[in-house]
């Protein structure tokens, strides 16, 4: 049960977090800009919103699952030290 929960949590390391945040932000803003021009050129706001929705789904796929690219820099924990009992 614990193992399943750990997998579902999808933890990634700190470098990965920064990367995923940048990717998400960039991808959403680009989707928004493309959606604006699409709606302008196609004379249809609905179409522009569909483009944006597609961009959103792509962003989710790129950012939410813990891809290995986000795990390239695992945290180097100190080795476990046994405390000497006094």
């Amino acid at each position: 049960m614990e193992a399943v929960k750990k997998q579902l949590e999808g933890r990634i390391d700190y470098e990965g977090q920064r990367l995923s945040e940048q990717v998400a932000y960039f991808s959403l803003v680009v989707s928004g800009v493309i959606a604006f021009f699409v709606s302008f050129l196609a004379s249809s706001i609905k179409f522009g919103l569909i483009v944006f929705a597609a961009g959103y789904v792509i962003t989710l796929l790129a950012v939410v699952p813990p891809w290995p690219v986000y795990r390239k820099h695992p945290i180097a924990w100190l080795p476990v030290r046994r405390l000497k009992a006094d």
């Binding site: 977090q17 995923s20 945040e21 959403l28 709606s39 249809s44 706001i45 522009g48 989710l60 950012v63």
Partner: protein, 200 residues
């Protein structure tokens, strides 16, 4: 951002912000570049003041026929225009105590699906809402402005009004037994009303 759930949450709220910004930019940009419409014309074909009968005997009706011509198609060139509400409006100032009044004589909704309807060319348009006032009320109306007004309904964004046409000469004068417009182009008899029809 360490867990998948966190990433889902954060990404979704950013996406919502970007989406709302997108809609706001669409609204403002389409409002900014709203095209102007070449001013059309309204001609008064005939005008008659008729007293009401029976239960409506305390009222007077103005029966009129108008020629309306206006091309509103440039408004649909804007991608954000969903439809137009078009109305022929009569504005007048009554001699009674600085009162200003407006009534809609005729209206129509033109949707984007049928933009050919935006080329209005109606001859002999009859008022949908008959202009009626109290008996003797038309005497207190010296002149009236007829205009064709439009209101733009956008797909998303700001609601904008505008004027599509004006009566070529904005007022008419009715003197004693006959009504003439300022061109003198036509004479209209005003039966059933004692002295004068509309105004002076």
């Amino acid at each position: 951002m360490f867990s998948a759930w966190q990433r889902l949450q954060n990404t979704s709220s950013w996406a919502l912000s970007v989406c709302l910004t997108l809609l706001a930019v669409i609204s403002v940009s389409s409002w900014y570049v709203l095209p102007t419409v070449p001013l059309g014309s309204i001609g008064l074909k005939s005008f008659q003041v008729v007293p009401g009968s029976g239960s409506q005997s305390n009222l007077e009706y103005a029966l009129m026929r108008l020629d309306v011509q206006s091309d509103l198609t440039p408004l649909f060139a804007n991608w954000n225009t969903k439809q137009l509400y078009v109305s022929v409006v009569a504005d007048w100032n009554s001699t009674v105590e600085g009162t200003q009044s407006s009534v809609v004589l005729w209206d129509r909704i033109i949707t984007r699906k049928r933009p050919e309807a935006a080329k209005l060319r109606i001859e002999g348009l009859k008022a949908k809402n008959v202009w009626k006032v109290r008996r003797g009320g038309f005497k207190t109306i010296p002149s009236c402005h007829l205009s064709l007004k439009y209101d733009i309904m956008p797909y998303v964004g700001i609601v904008t009004p505008g004027i599509g046409a004006r009566a070529r000469n904005p007022t008419w004068n009715v003197t004693t037994e006959t009504a003439t417009n300022s061109f003198g182009e036509w004479d209209i008899a005003v039966p059933g009303v004692k002295s004068g029809g509309v105004g002076s």
